[in-house]
């Protein structure tokens, strides 16, 4: 059983805190309300008064952290995840783009074996709007509300949520699962959380072509008799076979992974599915 999603008061450390991006995101997460209790870096430089530790084990021992945000270069993501899990961290969010896929496979095995949770790779992170964020979901798109959001794409979810917020609809929780083919947390993994979460009235899914995550979600909705309304946007209608557009996971092989396959599966499970942003926003707001 994988770890539950972290709560708003979770103690959080940042791996790679003293780098340029690490520094920026650490301060912005803290300003948003995230309970940042420490950082990990070989450089003993303080960031806004947050203590720095040489490794995760020391950071966890000193702070009692249960979650980590890793802001490290692509080839350092796997070692960062392994270190965090070994130190007892229960949730790792990795925001770096470009993690090699074989590394992602090894990370997934290690995280599953430890019963922990990994969100990523290549995700803008997650947020409980108004209370905390792990990663860098933009403030302009975040607002407390009652929509549960799961997204493969960062930017597309920013756009969707920005428009929903303009219509007065905020989020209970927002999780970016990332656009890589092998990832720590998939749409279907989060369904039980949103099913039982009393603060979530409906789900917004930002999906895209490639893989079978949307189909898997549809199967889970049916199997678990998921009863809340689900609104899904699927990007990539105009993509052609064998061409990757930015996300390595967004690749069509034959008839698998197409918009049609995902739309049919999700509609069969009771979801409303859209290919244009405004149609989804109007339906949710309607």
């Amino acid at each position: 059983m994988a770890e539950r999603l972290p709560t708003a008061d979770a103690r959080v450390i940042v791996q790679g805190m003293t780098g340029r991006a690490g520094r920026t995101h650490t301060l912005s997460m803290r300003a948003y309300g995230t309970h940042i209790v420490g950082g990990v870096s070989p450089r003993d430089e303080d960031v806004g008064g947050i203590p720095v530790f040489r490794d995760c084990a020391r950071a966890v021992a000193a702070t009692g952290a249960v979650a980590s945000v890793a802001i490290v270069p692509p080839l350092a993501v796997l070692p960062a995840i392994l270190e965090a899990i070994a130190a007892g961290i229960r949730t790792v969010v990795t925001i770096t783009e470009g993690m090699p896929i074989h590394d992602a496979v090894h990370a997934k095995q290690a995280v599953d074996a430890a019963g922990a949770r990994w969100i990523g790779a290549s995700t803008p992170g997650m947020a409980i709007p108004g209370r905390m964020k792990l990663g860098f979901l933009p403030d302009v798109s975040l607002a407390p509300g009652r929509l549960g959001v799961m997204a493969k794409s960062g930017t597309l979810s920013y756009e969707v949520c920005h428009r929903l917020v303009q219509r007065g609809l905020g989020q209970s929780q927002w999780v970016g699962v990332g656009g890589d083919p092998v990832k720590g947390t998939r749409f279907a993994d989060l369904l039980p959380h949103f099913a039982s979460d009393p603060d979530t009235d409906a789900l917004v899914i930002v999906g895209e072509i490639g893989g079978n995550e949307e189909e898997e979600l549809a199967a889970a909705m049916t199997a678990q008799r998921f009863a809340k309304p689900v609104f899904a946007l699927i990007a990539g209608q105009a993509a052609r076979e064998g061409v990757t557009m930015g996300h390595a996971g967004a690749l069509i092989h034959g008839t698998a992974g197409t918009v049609d396959s995902k739309t049919q599966a999700l509609r069969g499970a009771g979801a409303q599915v859209f290919t244009r942003i405004q149609d989804l926003v109007d339906a949710v707001a309607g």
């Binding site: 692509p74 794409s153 930017t155 076979e241 244009r276």
Partner: protein, 379 residues
């Protein structure tokens, strides 16, 4: 996905039995060897059905086949090269593959006594053997040995040998897929690689110098991967006759924008995820994309969409003005949708520069305007 020629080159380098063959582009001299087979080099399946594979009995047929296939569009991919290969005698065709199963984060090994197009037939699907195991060299080799033992006697030893020798390549090249179909098996039990697919992970190129060199050497055949390797962002030519050029950031939103424009009857010229967050004060990426768009003969409108989460739009606007000055050949009207940090500063910078860029903060309005600008102005 590597081209067949490059996948076979890597397999030959590992000592695997690959038929003799050469890569030929338009204008290159042809080998004076016949008979042979001429194969379109495109990263897609179904080449045979599309007429992209032809057997030539003599040099005249070789010439005709090459001329016919070069430039052919197969499943949306232009055949910019062909592999000309010797014909191989064989008694059987078999199937062998190793594929990363992304959903399970494991590797699926598949084998069949039927090779070629037959492997997909409903009638032979029952003969497709498969096992899914963890990403571990020994586990995969053991699974392959178990599957091979279930093949008919005439094939078992040959397919087992091929599998044993291909497994290390899956790791050496951090493959996502290695497929040999058909695997030619001769009456004496020897074997050769008929067709090969090797899908690589662009994210691994940084630590796989052999693969990076292959992509760089064939930069004309892997334009998108070469650009990503060199510049660090994604760019895809979508439609050479396209009428609207796109300068956009974020993979998902950029892909969605292509959908939204296509649904409204436009023909997007390109896709790009320029990653504004990585500009670091340098307009090079903007200049490269603008230069590329400027070569489109039908470009009549350019749409920029930057949803700035953390990036400062003021800095982006400054770089945009610099890039436009460097690419005067881009004459189509530009519509920019900006939202996020530093919007006011960006508006001021664009206005001060006297730039005719039309700025919108709402994406639907920006799309409408960019489409309206496709229509020729009344004279």
């Amino acid at each position: 996905m590597l081209l067949e020629h490059d996948a076979k080159t890597l397999m030959a380098e590992a000592g695997l039995p690959v038929p003799w063959g050469v890569l030929v582009r338009a204008g290159d001299p042809l080998p004076s060897r016949a008979p042979g087979v001429v194969k379109a080099q495109v990263p897609a399946g179904g080449r045979g059905k599309a007429g992209g594979i032809k057997v030539a009995r003599d040099l005249a047929e070789l010439r005709a086949a090459s001329d016919g296939i070069l430039g052919m569009i197969i499943r949306g991919h232009a055949a910019r090269s062909v592999r000309i290969e010797e014909l191989v005698d064989f008694a059987h065709e078999a199937y062998l593959s190793f594929a990363l199963d992304a959903a399970r984060a494991q590797v699926t090994v598949m084998m069949s006594r039927h090779g070629g197009v037959e492997v997909e037939d409903a009638a032979t699907r029952a003969d497709l053997l498969s096992e899914t195991v963890v990403l571990d060299q020994e586990a995969i080799a053991a699974a392959a040995a178990r599957l091979a033992a279930r093949l008919p006697d005439a094939l078992a030893a040959a397919v087992a040998d091929a599998a044993r020798r291909l497994v290390p390549l899956f790791f050496a090249h951090e493959a996502l897929l290695i497929e040999v179909n058909p695997l030619f098996v001769r009456a004496d039990g020897s074997w050769a690689i008929g067709d090969a697919k090797l899908a690589i992970d662009e994210n691994a190129l940084a630590r796989r110098p052999r693969l990076a060199a292959l992509v760089e050497d064939h930069a004309d055949l892997y334009r998108e991967a070469a650009l990503k390797l060199e510049q660090g962002f994604d760019y895809v030519d979508l439609d050479p006759a396209g009428d609207i050029g796109l300068i956009t950031t974020g993979a998902g939103l950029s892909m969605q924008l292509v959908d939204e424009l296509t649904a409204r009857g436009c023909r997007p010229y390109n896709f790009c995820d320029i990653r504004t967050g990585q500009f670091k004060g340098d307009p090079t990426r903007l200049i490269l994309v603008m230069e590329r768009i400027a070569t489109g003969p039908n470009i009549r409108s350019v749409l920029i969409n930057f949803f700035a989460g953390h990036t400062h739009l003021g800095e982006i606007a400054r770089l945009l003005i610099q890039a436009l000055a460097a690419v005067p050949q881009l004459k189509a009207p530009i519509t920019a949708r900006f939202i996020g940090n530093g919007l006011d500063e960006a508006l001021a910078i664009i206005a001060d520069a006297g730039s005719p860029i039309a700025i919108e903060t709402d994406l639907e309005r920006a799309i409408d305007l960019a489409i309206a600008r496709l229509e020729p102005a009344d004279g």
